[in-house]
């Protein structure tokens, strides 16, 4: 019977050192809402658990110049929700984070741990490993179900959400059969900027319809330049459906997920647009 070692370093360097040294036997513990479940079910048996919640940078929400935010990878959703200004700028990101689990789970679960969800915010992710610190686009982090493009020993440090021009907002919806405590059958995030009623910038993300979250550029293009009228929304919805590469599984069928991706695109876009117009 092998024992599990647990460390809770105070600094990022110590955390990376321990994590990299232990190799594939190590697991990062932030909120633990996935890791502990996996351990209990016997799916993973880590030799080392590196608890990163003692590292200040990983648990901090900082405002950066120009009105953007840097969010530590281990910041729980509930903490982000309590931030006095984050909600105004990035309501859709907050929705996405706080659709996870229940109130109790949101007190633990972090955005970093849930990066495989669709995040359309245009965020930059900072990671640090034995070879130093680097930045990558959030959409480049997931490599497939349960896999990321992080190198051995690298730890996700923070998300940086850029400042936003006036008339910008976002929204996130997910389809679950229940109202909470469920895994998304389809998730959809839309971030957009409106100027005089015309969409000047858009990003559209879909979750649970492909091996990783999808950034659907054709859907964004269908929205940009339009007044978000029915024609544009239908074109964007069809672009979303076309981008779907889902599977049939216990959580949903191919036909259902594909159909729903378009429905959610329309609804999410409408919410984001209302917010962008200050409605």
């Amino acid at each position: 019977m092998t024992d599990i070692r647990y460390v809770a370093p105070q600094t990022l360097d110590e955390a990376i050192g321990a994590y990299a040294a232990a190799g594939s036997a190590a697991r990062i513990l932030a909120g633990g809402t996935d890791l502990l479940v996996q351990m209990r079910s016997g799916a993973v048996k880590p030799g080392l658990i590196v608890d990163i919640k003692k590292v200040r940078e990983l648990t901090a929400v900082e405002e950066i110049s120009g009105g953007g935010f840097r969010i530590g990878a281990a910041v729980p959703g509930a903490v982000l929700a309590e931030h006095p200004r984050f909600r105004q700028t990035w309501p859709g990101v907050l929705e996405a984070v706080n659709l996870i689990g229940s109130t109790q789970v949101q007190g633990r679960a972090s955005a970093g741990g849930n990066l495989c969800n669709a995040s359309p915010a245009g965020a930059i992710v900072t990671v640090q490993g034995p070879d130093g610190r680097r930045e990558l686009k959030v959409e480049d982090v997931p490599a497939g179900p349960g896999r990321t493009n992080l190198k051995p020993g690298e730890i996700l440090v923070s998300f940086t959400l850029p400042p936003r021009p006036p008339g910008s907002s976002d929204a996130y919806l997910r389809m679950i059969p229940r109202t909470e405590m469920d895994i998304a059958v389809v998730g959809c995030g839309v971030s957009l900027t409106l100027k005089d009623g015309v969409c000047t910038h858009a990003r559209v993300g879909l979750g649970a319809v492909a091996p990783t979250a999808l950034l659907v550029e054709p859907a964004a293009q269908a929205l940009i330049g339009s007044r978000l009228d029915d024609t544009a929304l239908t074109a964007a919805a069809n672009a979303c459906r076309a981008a779907c590469r889902p599977i049939d599984d216990k959580r949903g069928t191919i036909a259902y997920r594909t159909q729903i991706a378009g429905v959610l695109l329309k609804r999410t876009t409408n919410i984001a647009a209302e917010r962008a117009q200050g409605k």
């Binding site: 019977m1 079910s41 229940s102 389809m175 059969p177 229940r178 109202t179 909470e180 405590m181 469920d182 895994i183 059958v185 239908t234 599984d249 216990k250 959580r251 949903g252 069928t253 036909a255 259902y256 159909q259 729903i260 378009g262 429905v263």
Partner: protein
């Protein structure tokens, strides 16, 4: 017997006796118990849906350091297939093979062997070291596959129409002439329905701790719906006499019928006996979902004929229910209950018990009745619609009442079904307007209810308070109900009555907590015991006052002279008489044991509003009212809770709950994340209307209430979805992909 009126305690929402323990975490559930020297048991389970077991080699497991005992089917008492040995509704031939596979593994999760070791991890490792040589056999899970002529037979010894078959039982209820009945009909509607197996979903997994002393004296702490059932089944399966087994009921974290049989106790007893150490076993949620009894999936055809005036002239039902690996699906509930609310001249109701390679079903709240009612109540809705009748008026026109002969046999005594329909009709809910994409459905339901064996002891303590011991695990508020009744009868404050649940060696035999029987039966024995105690108290007072006991009355917790003629004496309170007891004849108390009779069936009528998101296929229940004839609500808060709980479970069954199978025959969703029971935010406040038509054969008028509230729910939801969307669904669950598919939304949208 007289119905007590002007009650002080019966009908009060008293503080529940188990409440403080439960909210503070002090309540001891089965998994909370521990003993010095305790070791852990684990079960090796079959990975195959169907396989012959050629051999089992446990030698490597036994050699693993820390392993203290290994048991297989060789250690379990065998009950040969040629002779049925019934214990309640369970046949020990099947029980002995369900707790441990003998020659064949019949479902993924079927126990093959069990190990006890010093830690859980070592026990789990030892299970991996057991080598089983399987001959994998063809298998079937769904009813249609299991009853095909070429299906692999699970039990060769069982025949149907002269041949080995997976149809392992049949039940028929007949009344009148069905052919002649349909000839009188102006409208006939026939539909076929399917339902999926659903789990009871108790939050507490099965758990036990068992110690077997060197002299064979065995103590079982476990969570069950009947400590006497645990004792008897464990005795049968281990060969230990019942007198040597003390089964102590733990506080129970939900049962809903699913804890009326044993899984772990015989195995832990055998491991404890072999190892000489106390053995603890706790199932994981995955084990609960794979290997314990859900209720049946089903396939049912219902045909109902009515005249233009709304009179139902004939009704026919054919109900195929999955039993799982062993015979015993609840066809009695499906075939017997589904037409019972109606006075129909010609009925033919047939149930078929079908074995297939999934875990053996266990009881689930009104077993079988919700399955049958779903089909019948949906067809009734269609018949009412085709006759342009309000669905409640249609039911009123055909409602069973006193004197109606039910197809399953009895002639109904005074029943309260009509009262539930009238209360539903006049409820504000029924006349409230509803909005776009919303719909309102109604449905009714019946459950037999039960009496049977119960025992109780009522003792007066030396300080003049009361301890009541009964023999039923409390899963629905029986302790609170009994405390209310006892306080009422003795005329004392409710808080002076302590109700506890005795173990098998300290209280007389009491049958299972099930069948909605516990408050009915235990109130009867407690009432008789309390009356005996009151007689003793009157005799004591009479002796002190030197008058005739008949001249003493018991009132407000004290003995009084019955009339001025009896003499002038200061009242003697319960405390006074308890204090004087040692000099006046000794301890005061009485025990009563009865096989109770006179349980009347229960009826309910439900109103359900749904709102359907037609783009996503999501149906949400937005308002719900459950009306039920509850006889007498001894503790209304608990009765309402029973109704609400049943409705919540039914909504889950209707909308999302199902076992999803992989192509290899294994359940793909053995946990609460993907087995989608409703969460709080899925449900509106569930309103209740308690109709009280007292049971004249019960001292307090009690009828069972716990099972009826699940019976009408799925049909009420389905009928509401129809009113919202114009689309009828004939299969459960009505989950989003199926609703969307049914609404043909994708095709329309794609064409836009």
């Amino acid at each position: 017997m007289n119905i007590v009126v002007n009650n002080k305690w019966i009908g009060q929402r008293t503080i529940r006796p188990d409440g403080v323990d439960k909210v503070t975490g002090r309540a001891a559930f089965a998994a909370d118990t521990a003993m010095p020297g305790m070791i852990w048991g684990k079960v090796l389970r079959s990975p195959h849906p169907h396989a012959r077991i050629r051999s089992i080699d446990t030698s490597r497991a036994e050699a693993l350091p820390g392993v203290k005992a290994v048991v297989t089917s060789r250690d379990v008492v065998d009950f040969p297939l040629d002779k049925s040995v019934m214990l309640g509704i369970q046949d020990m031939r099947w029980m002995c093979r369900n707790v441990m596979a003998r020659d064949k593994a019949l479902f993924p999760g079927h126990p093959i062997a069990a190990v006890a070791a010093t830690t859980e991890a070592i026990a789990a490792k030892a299970c991996e070291l057991i080598e089983v040589d399987y001959e994998v056999l063809p298998w079937s899970i769904e009813i249609d596959d299991a009853i095909r002529p070429d299906a692999q037979i699970l039990h060769e010894s069982i025949t149907f129409q002269g041949k080995p078959s997976n149809i392992v039982g049949q039940l028929e209820h007949k009344k009148g002439d069905i052919e002649a009945g349909f000839k009188q009909a102006d409208v006939i509607i026939e539909r076929t329905f399917t339902t999926r197996p659903v789990h009871q979903g108790y939050i507490e997994p099965h758990a036990c701790l068992i110690s077997v002393a060197a002299d064979g004296k065995t103590t079982i702490w476990s969570s069950s719906q009947g400590q006497f059932m645990v004792r008897a089944m464990t005795a049968y399966l281990t060969g230990i006499p019942q007198s040597d087994i003390r089964a102590i009921p733990a506080e129970i974290g939900g049962g809903f019928g699913g804890k009326t049989i044993v899984y772990l106790e015989p195995l832990a007893t055998l491991l404890a006996k072999k190892s000489g150490r106390p053995v603890k076993m706790v199932m994981t949620r995955e084990e609960v979902m794979r290997a314990t009894g859900p209720t049946s999936g089903s396939k049912n055809t219902v045909k109902i004929g009515a005249r233009k005036d709304g009179t139902i002239v004939a009704a026919q039902g054919t109900f195929y229910l999955q039993a799982g690996a062993f015979p015993g699906s609840p066809i009695r509930g499906a075939a017997g209950c589904s037409f019972a609310p109606y006075d129909i001249a010609n009925v033919l109701s047939v149930g078929y018990d079908v074995c297939s390679n999934r875990s053996k079903v266990a009881a689930y709240r009104a077993p079988g009745a919700p399955i049958g009612a779903y089909a019948v109540e949906c067809v009734l809705d269609e018949v009412a619609e085709s006759l342009n009748m309000d669905p409640l008026d249609f039911r009123l026109k055909n409602a069973a009442k006193q004197g109606t002969k039910a197809a399953h046999g009895p002639v109904f005594p005074r029943i309260g079904y009509i009262e539930t329909l009238e209360a539903a009709k006049t409820a504000p809910h029924y006349s409230t307007p509803i909005g776009k994409l919303q719909g309102r459905g109604v449905a009714s339901g019946f459950w037999f209810n039960a009496g049977g064996e119960s025992s109780a002891q009522v003792n007066i303590t030396e300080d003049g308070n009361v301890v009541v011991t009964t023999g039923h695990p409390d899963i629905g508020g029986s302790r609170a109900g009994i405390a209310n009744i006892c306080a009422e009868l003795l005329g004392i404050d409710y808080r002076r009555v302590s109700v506890i649940i005795g173990d098998t060696q300290t209280v007389g035999f009491s049958n299972l907590t099930g069948g909605s029987r516990v408050l009915f039966a235990s109130a009867m024995v407690v009432t008789q015991a309390a009356e005996k105690v009151i007689n003793t108290l009157r005799e004591r007072a009479a002796k002190i006052w030197e008058i005739d006991p008949e001249a003493v009355k018991w009132e407000n917790g004290a003995a009084h002279p019955a009339s001025p003629n009896a003499g002038q004496f200061e009242p003697l309170t319960l405390e006074d008489l308890a204090e004087k007891a040692p000099m006046q004849g000794g301890p005061i108390g009485a025990g009563v044991q009865l096989n109770t009779q006179g349980a009347d069936g229960g009826f309910g009528t439900h109103i359900c509003d749904v709102e359907v998101d037609i783009e996503l296929g999501i149906a949400r229940v937005i308002r719900y009212t459950a009306v039920q004839d509850v006889g007498r609500a001894v503790h209304p808060g608990y009765v309402e809770g029973q109704l609400q709980g049943g409705v919540a479970q039914g909504i889950g069954w209707a909308l999302n709950e199902e076992y999803i199978y992989r192509s290899d025959g294994k359940v793909d969703n053995p946990g609460f994340l993907d087995y989608r029971m409703p969460v709080c935010s899925d449900l509106p406040m569930l309103d209740t209307i308690l109709v009280e038509v007292p049971n004249p054969k019960h001292p307090q008028g009690v009828k069972g209430v716990g099972e009826v509230p699940l019976v009408p729910v799925m049909a009420a939801v389905a009928n509401a979805i129809y009113r919202a969307t114009g689309k009828r669904f004939y299969a459960l669950p009505m989950s989003p992909p199926k609703v969307l598919e049914g609404l043909e939304q994708p095709i329309q949208q794609a064409a836009e």
